[in-house]
Amino acid sequence: MYVKIKSIALVIVIFFSTIKAQSVVLQESYDNRFTPQEIGLPDNMPYVKSIIWGKEGVFRKLDIGPDTRIEELELRRKMLKHHQWIGILTLAGLAYQYDVGKKLYDGDDDKYWDDHYDTHKAMGYFTYATYMTGASLSIFAPPARKYDNNFSSIKFHRAMAVIHFSTMMAQPFLAKKAVEDGKRYNDLMDAHLKAGTVAFFALSLDALGITFFK
């Protein structure tokens, strides 16, 4: 009887030892893997982003923006989706502007000038407005989860943005100055055309990069 009890006890011990040996993950570790985590601000935030959305950023001080980081990320996603569509609209507008603007600059056809000048001017305001709206949606969007220093399509996008942003900023001022300053009309119009050309090709290259590069 005693031997039998010992044997049963031994079987139970061995059985549970085996089970225990198979319980390969500590309970604490097992729980942690599924526990939702508090997410903070990312490391390596770009300078402009940290001025706006950093811990001591302008929006934090003015209490602008959502209450939680998760809501910030949802807002970011919406803003960048609109940024994408407005960017495509702007590119289409700039393609038209580049074509018409070049013909207005090069041509001696008064009829073409009469037919297209006002449209070019109106489209100028339109593309400027859409470009700046699209840029604002990106600049003011809450920070992403991650930032790194790898060269990727997003790095290329940011580099190209410096070029097309600065040339787009200059565009209306160059045109306005050219109209106001008759003596420097040719030089300023020349600069207006060059800035427009750079803006259009930089934005086109940017769109290709963000679409097809990894």
Partner: protein
Amino acid sequence: MRKLTFILFFQFLFSQAIPVEIDSEKSFLSYEGKHPAHNWTGISKDIKGSFIFDKDQPILSSVDLYIPVFSFDSGNSNRDSNMLDVVEDYFYPSVSFTSSSITKEKEQYYINGVMFFHGIEKKMRIPVKFIIENDTIVVDTNFIISLSDHNIKRPSFLTIKIKDNIEIKLHLVGSI
């Protein structure tokens, strides 16, 4: 009763089931995302959990692995951030796989188990290959997961959504 005791005792004594120490430098899990404009690969070397391997009877082995979603790196932080948004890692920080059994069919091993991803549990049968050299085991597997199966809203670019099927590749190196 004595016979059973001896069988269990000796099985226990000579059991070759030993924990595998995962080499985090050489091991990785990758996913391949596809969009008509471009494909990309995200890699994580942060494989956690445990792997118990039975040298004599591999079908008695078991795995319980998990990977923090945040650890995946595709070389483009913007894309990684978008991925973290769609898989909502702030609610579901890890993707895990726990085996329930291992079977062998025509020289091919299969791990049966449950994948937990984006709050959805999905039963899976994954084909695996393994090689043992001295005290090192190398496990390789490729399989497909469906984003819609895990209730993940596929992100889109220029109105085109990424492909629903994501190819997963695991290369696990460990010492036994």
